[in-house]
């Protein structure tokens, strides 16, 4: 049983297509040049409506996190316990992701992280994050 997967739409398919190539892209306003996330039809900073896509460094810090102890559906049961976090990217925007490849108890607010890519199927790749420092 696979987890629920993103269903890209015309506004988000560049993001998911790039993820499949293991690149993290953010929408960048062609008017004010600021990046934002999640993708909007209207720039949250200047209300313009045209965007390019800009590659992010993939570096950020953990703004907040939670260790999930009960699965929302059977698809997630095998992964328990797992970390759901909000990552503040160095470029400014935040996003939700998993912190993987670590003891969940080693995760703290403020920890630096870097992006990785989890290929779920041939068609679906999720950006995920790993702790930059090794835990004690």
């Amino acid at each position: 049983m696979t987890r629920p997967l993103p269903q890209p739409d015309p506004a988000t398919s560049p993001y998911w297509n790039a993820a499949r190539q293991h690149r993290l892209l953010l929408p960048k306003c062609t008017h004010c040049t600021r990046v934002h996330f999640y993708p909007k039809a209207i720039c949250p900073y200047c209300s313009a409506d045209t965007f390019d896509w800009s590659e992010a460094s993939g570096r950020g810090t953990i703004y907040s996190f939670t260790i999930v102890k009960r699965a929302p559906s059977p698809a997630f049961e095998a992964q328990l316990p797992y970390v759901v976090a909000i990552v503040a990217l160095d470029e400014g925007p935040c996003l939700m992701s998993n912190i993987i490849s670590c003891d969940p108890d080693a995760v703290h607010v403020g920890d630096p992280v870097k992006v990785g890519f989890l290929d779920i199927t041939d068609e679906d790749t999720l950006p995920v994050f790993e702790l930059l420092k090794t835990s004690k």
């Binding site: 987890r3 629920p4 997967l5 993103p6 269903q7 890209p8 739409d9 988000t12 998911w16 996330f37 999640y38 703004y63 907040s64 996190f65 939670t66 260790i67 999930v68 102890k69 009960r70 699965a71 929302p72 559906s73 997630f76 992964q79 797992y82 759901v84 976090a85 909000i86 503040a88 925007p93 935040c94 996003l95 939700m96 992701s97 998993n98 607010v109 403020g110 999720l126």
Partner: protein
């Protein structure tokens, strides 16, 4: 002279596990109780407001319910601001009456969320039901409690809020529910019980989370002139406000401050009152952290001090600010969108002095606050016994 609206009737179905009643039957139970309370009949009703259900899909929900009850409406509206729907609906009902669009509004909401399928099914459908962004959040596996846990964790990081302080909220709500004959969960609990309850999504445990219930509530709003001829004590809307600062929690950059800052400020400004004027605060409590953040954002304490504010019984009946005196979503009952409506019915009871063992002595002014999404959309009412 300007038309003035008043709340003249409240009603609830049985709340808790209520097998064998459909959503519409539960709504009919609540509507009949509210109309009887007001001394009105269905034939007097010319407007209906409701919410969508989560357990069934209805095309035009307000039309479905109005027709089911045999109402020939002059005004219909389906309100969906998630958990803030109940509070926002009262504002809109008052506006509709004061604008002269209708004379008697029946606001009715309810569903059999617990008995419709199963609690596990309710948890799954909520996790994938829109609180988490379908593309950017759901694939990472958050429960609805996880989304609020992210707020709690950040609040603890910034302000030193403790799990014991979160637990105090759950204990107060259970105490209030134990005094409410229509509450779902009434066995008293302690802080230790909360701290040793099953972990769900750190730092939240199962007793930090709202329950899942069946139930319905209804409120009748009409004109001040008509209220004078009715048998009940009318309650008046003194102020109202709405606020929204984010929709999905993963993209928000200040998780510990919410749109309740804006809804509360607008409500107090329009009422010409301040937090110190509030005798009882019916604050939305989907999770323990929600109450702490809302107390801060509504101005009952400073940002970061919500944890210490809820200690030592301050938000319990008999404390300095009794909060959510029916037991709330944490213990009183939570049938989904209708959950926030019980905060309204209890606020009205408190002002009419009919809350029985839960009565706040001499309650004159009540604040009712609803929160929808993930601390996203906020609606605040200030209700009074006198029309000012």
């Amino acid at each position: 002279m300007r038309r003035r609206a008043a709340i003249v009737g409240i009603g609830e179905s049985r709340v808790g596990r209520v097998p064998g009643r459909s959503s519409l039957q539960l709504q009919a139970d609540a509507a009949s109780a509210a109309l009887a309370d007001a001394g009105l009949r269905l034939a007097d009703v010319d407007a209906l407001m409701t919410t969508p259900l989560r357990v069934e899909r209805w095309n035009m929900p307000a039309g479905v319910v109005a027709h089911h009850f045999g109402i020939r409406p002059a005004y219909l509206s389906t309100v969906d601001l998630a958990g803030a729907s109940g509070v926002a609906m009262i504002s809109q009902a008052v506006q509709a009456v004061e604008a002269g669009l209708c004379d008697v509004v029946l606001c009715v909401v309810g569903q059999n969320l617990l008995s419709h399928r199963s609690r596990a099914d309710a948890v799954k459908s909520m996790a994938e039901g829109g609180s988490a962004h379908p593309q950017f959040e759901v694939p990472y596996g958050p429960l609805v409690p996880s989304l609020y846990a992210l707020i709690a964790q950040r609040h603890m990081h910034e302000f030193g809020t403790t799990e014991e302080q979160l637990a105090e909220v759950a204990v107060a709500m259970r105490f209030h529910a134990s005094l409410n004959p229509n509450a779902h969960k009434t066995d008293p609990i302690t802080v230790d019980d909360v701290l040793t309850s099953r972990p769900v999504s750190t730092p939240l445990r199962v007793l930090d989370c709202a329950i899942v219930s069946d139930g319905a509530a209804a409120v009748v709003v009409t004109t001040h002139d008509r209220a004078k001829d009715l048998k009940c004590d009318p309650v008046y809307l003194l102020g109202q406000g709405l606020g929204l600062r984010h929709s999905h929690v993963g993209e928000h950059k200040d998780l510990t401050t919410t749109g309740a800052v804006d809804s509360g400020a607008a409500a107090f400004r329009s009422a010409g009152l301040t937090p110190s004027d509030i005798d009882v605060a019916q604050i939305y409590d989907c999770f323990t952290i929600t109450v702490i953040v809302e107390l801060e954002d509504l101005g009952f304490c400073k940002k970061g001090e919500g944890g210490s504010f809820v200690e030592n019984g301050r938000i319990r009946l008999g404390g300095a600010l009794p909060v959510t005196t029916h037991g709330g979503l944490l213990s009183g009952g939570h049938p989904g969108l209708p959950g926030g409506f019980f905060h309204v019915t209890e606020g009205v009871r408190q002002l009419r002095r009919t809350a029985g063992a839960r009565q706040v002595p001499n309650a004159e002014v009540a604040l009712v606050h609803g929160n929808g999404g993930v601390a996203s959309v906020h609606a605040t009412l200030i209700l009074g016994r006198n029309s000012h």
